[in-house]
């Protein structure tokens, strides 16, 4: 007996095809089939049937109203055959508790999403179906063929404009459709004549496509095998190294000079600026506030590379104070490497069991993913900008820089602008007033005016010290200066010879004979064993429960 696959297809008046959500396996009669033959219903198999979870009963205990999100179908036999409850239940429509679900006088209806419904009337041998729209207008009065062996399969479509029904004969399927916007009540159009099921599947009539049993939905792209076994494998990983220091420096611009003074040189500068050798008359032509020339004075926790000593210029004023000139504003601090290793060599070495964090001077304590760092050689480097005191910490895990943090590692030395600048400004103002318009109109006038405005602003403020990085910088100087890892490792509890009693996790396909000791199988194919099926089950059960090879 051949088996055909029928997706339940309904044809609308405009030729659109509605494909419902389930298929139906129907045993195909042979060409010599006659109506007196009996179809073996055991050959039916519903692939997917709408589940009816909540079926309401009326007061008489009958099911009388159903709401289906998608269409359903049912079967009826009337050629001497008795409707059997099992069949009806198997097909998902009414799970009748009575032998005659279509008893007269009962209001059995199928209600659709659009509130239209089919009213089922008649009796088991002569059922009648009427379709009503949501306003109660009848559009179809449809009865099963009561004179021949007839299998009735209405396929209602919950569509605003259309209700379609299909009627099946043992050898034919009839499809009907009605458009309630164009047709009068009671009128229906037979869209397709019939399909002779005794013919080959390739001789379907127009409008009905033959269905490939292996591809019942040809318009849906076939899925292709995928997943780990079909993947392309892990992509190759590119090494990500710690970058080099920047090649440019603000000192290259000529606007800024960085000095790397010793403590005594700093004192020399202070002495110079505060003693009588400071030629204010010269300086005032350039700046009203000499502190404007000092862009920053920081203490940084790194050895700044320095070159030859040079005289420090404050603005255009060449002082007699010498300091070592810093050759670069960028400094790298190599904190070295730590080989973490794998304490247990098991999943306990990774998250969520093992936890890593790292203390970074001038940055703080940061969480690390154990999956990133377990078993890796960790290399830590800082890049420090001595001018801005910004720092970046790079943590390289194996060959890859997986973490970067930023911080501030400098301490801005408070060069107070209170007494000194106020004094200088007072002198500068007096001096400027004394020379009057001599400099008016020159470039210096703008500078003096700007400097005066700045001084006014400054004097309006309370004395304060500005620190780059604010509290963080000084706190960093007080904190630990060596980075370190904090590792929270679970203390494994492992009984002696655990491997012998329970084995260790495998998930490996292997021949039983290649194993020794304890072995527990997820699945095993007992091929080539000349045993009884009972013995095969016993062996399989033992293998899944654990055996000793």
């Amino acid at each position: 007996m051949a088996v055909a696959v029928f997706p339940v297809r309904i044809f609308s008046a405009d030729g659109q095809i509605f494909i419902r959500k389930f298929n139906l396996y129907i045993p195909m009669p042979s060409a010599a089939y006659t109506e007196t033959n009996t179809i073996s219903w055991s050959g039916f198999k519903l692939l997917s049937v709408v589940e009816i979870d909540a079926i309401l009963k009326n007061n008489n205990g009958h099911y009388n109203a159903y709401e289906f999100p998608i269409c359903n179908w049912w079967v009826k036999m009337n050629s001497g055959a008795q409707l059997q409850q099992d069949w009806v239940q198997a097909f998902g429509f009414p799970r009748c508790i009575a032998t005659n679900p279509y008893a007269n006088g009962n209001d059995f209806r199928i209600v659709f999403d659009n509130d239209s419904y089919i009213l089922v009337a008649g009796n088991i041998t002569n059922p009648n179906f009427k379709y009503y729209d949501k306003n109660g207008n009848q559009y179809l009065n449809w009865s099963a063929d009561s004179t021949s062996a007839c299998y009735t399969l209405p396929f209602p479509i919950p569509n605003d404009d259309f209700i379609g029904l299909a009627d099946s004969h043992p050898r034919w399927f009839y499809f009907y459709g009605i458009n309630n916007t164009n047709n009068e009540p009671g009128f229906y159009t037979r869209i397709n004549e019939y399909v002779d099921m005794s013919k080959s599947l390739t001789t379907w009539y127009e409008g009905i496509k033959p269905i490939d049993i292996n591809d019942p939905y040809p318009n849906i792209p076939q899925s292709t095998p995928s997943g780990p076994a079909e993947g392309v494998g892990l992509p190759t990983s590119d090494a990500v190294d710690i970058p080099g220091l920047p090649t440019f420096s603000v000192t290259d611009t000529g606007f800024v000079t960085l000095f790397n003074p010793t403590m005594s040189q700093v004192k020399d500068l202070a002495d110079y600026m505060w003693n009588g050798l400071f030629d204010i008359n010269n300086f005032k032509k350039i700046f009203a506030d000499p502190m404007d020339c000092i862009l920053g004075f920081n203490m940084v926790p790194v050895a700044v590379p320095s070159g030859a000593a040079a005289n420090i210029n404050i603005g255009n004023l060449v002082t007699s104070v010498t300091m070592n000139v810093a050759t670069s504003q960028w400094v790298e601090v190599d904190c070295g490497s730590i080989d973490i290793g794998l304490p247990y060599g098991s999943y306990l070495d990774f998250s969520p069991y093992t936890k890593f964090s790292i203390y970074l001077p001038y940055i703080g304590t940061c969480e690390l993913s154990a999956d990133d760092v377990a078993g890796q050689v960790l290399t830590l480097k800082y890049h420090v900008d001595a001018l801005s005191c910004a720092c970046v910490a790079y943590l390289k895990c194996g060959d890859h820089v997986l973490y970067q943090w930023t911080g501030s590692c400098g301490y801005s030395i408070p060069v107070t602008q209170n007494d000194f600048s106020r004094m200088i400004m007072a002198i500068a103002n007096i001096a400027a007033a004394g020379i009057g318009g001599a400099i008016v109109g020159g470039a210096g006038a703008a500078i003096v005016n700007a400097g005066a405005a700045a001084a006014k602003n400054v004097s309006a403020l309370k004395p304060e010290v500005h620190r780059s990085g604010a509290i963080g910088s000084s706190a960093g100087l007080m904190g630990a200066q060596t980075p370190y890892l904090i590792i929270e490792i679970p203390q494994a509890c492992k009984p002696d010879k655990q491997y012998h009693y329970t084995g260790y996790p495998g998930f490996i396909t292997v021949k039983v004979g290649d194993l020794s000791g304890y072995a527990e199988f997820e699945e095993i194919i007992l091929d080539g064993i000349g045993c009884t099926e009972e013995e095969r089950s016993m062996i399989e059960g033992l293998c899944k429960g654990g055996i000793y090879v």
Partner: protein
């Protein structure tokens, strides 16, 4: 039909493929006069005695090893040996040629598979590891507008 039974003492658990067995006495030989199950045989033998330590047997005609579940005495010097098949030992050779997906094993495993095999105490160990180098020097940086003059 010449029917032979070898009695053994088995000291291995049921889930051992290869049992550690010691033969007891000589092979019992006779005729099979009544039907019995090949999976759970009940063999009636006429014997002066059956070793009380016999807990395992091999029936050559069935080609199977059996656990002896019980030995019952009957009238007229008869003993009933009730057994059940040991499929692991009986088909050990063929079984060892079969392939399967190991869930856990003693000899081949991957301990990175997290199936709860390893357990840990509630109190973890807290370990700190210092990097070899840190910040050890402090320098002053003075940034000044303009350039330096050579001495």
């Amino acid at each position: 039909m010449n029917f032979t039974i070898d009695l053994y003492t088995n000291t291995s658990p049921e889930n051992y493929v290869t049992k550690s067995i010691t033969q007891l006495g000589t092979q019992l030989s006779g005729d099979l006069r009544q039907g019995t199950s090949i999976i759970r045989p009940g063999i009636v033998i006429e014997q002066a005695s059956v070793p009380a330590t016999a807990n395992y047997m091999y029936i050559a005609d069935f080609g199977r090893y059996y656990f002896i579940d019980n030995i019952e005495t009957a009238e007229h010097g008869l003993y009933i040996i009730r057994g059940r098949v040991d499929p692991l030992m009986s088909y050990a050779t063929a079984l060892k040629a079969c392939k399967g997906i190991v869930h856990r094993a003693e000899s081949q495993y991957n301990t990175y598979l997290d199936d709860g095999t390893f357990k840990a105490y509630a109190n973890p160990a807290i370990i700190t590891k210092k990097f070899p180098n840190g910040f050890t020097q402090t320098d002053f940086i003075l940034a000044v507008a303009g350039s330096a003059s050579a001495i």
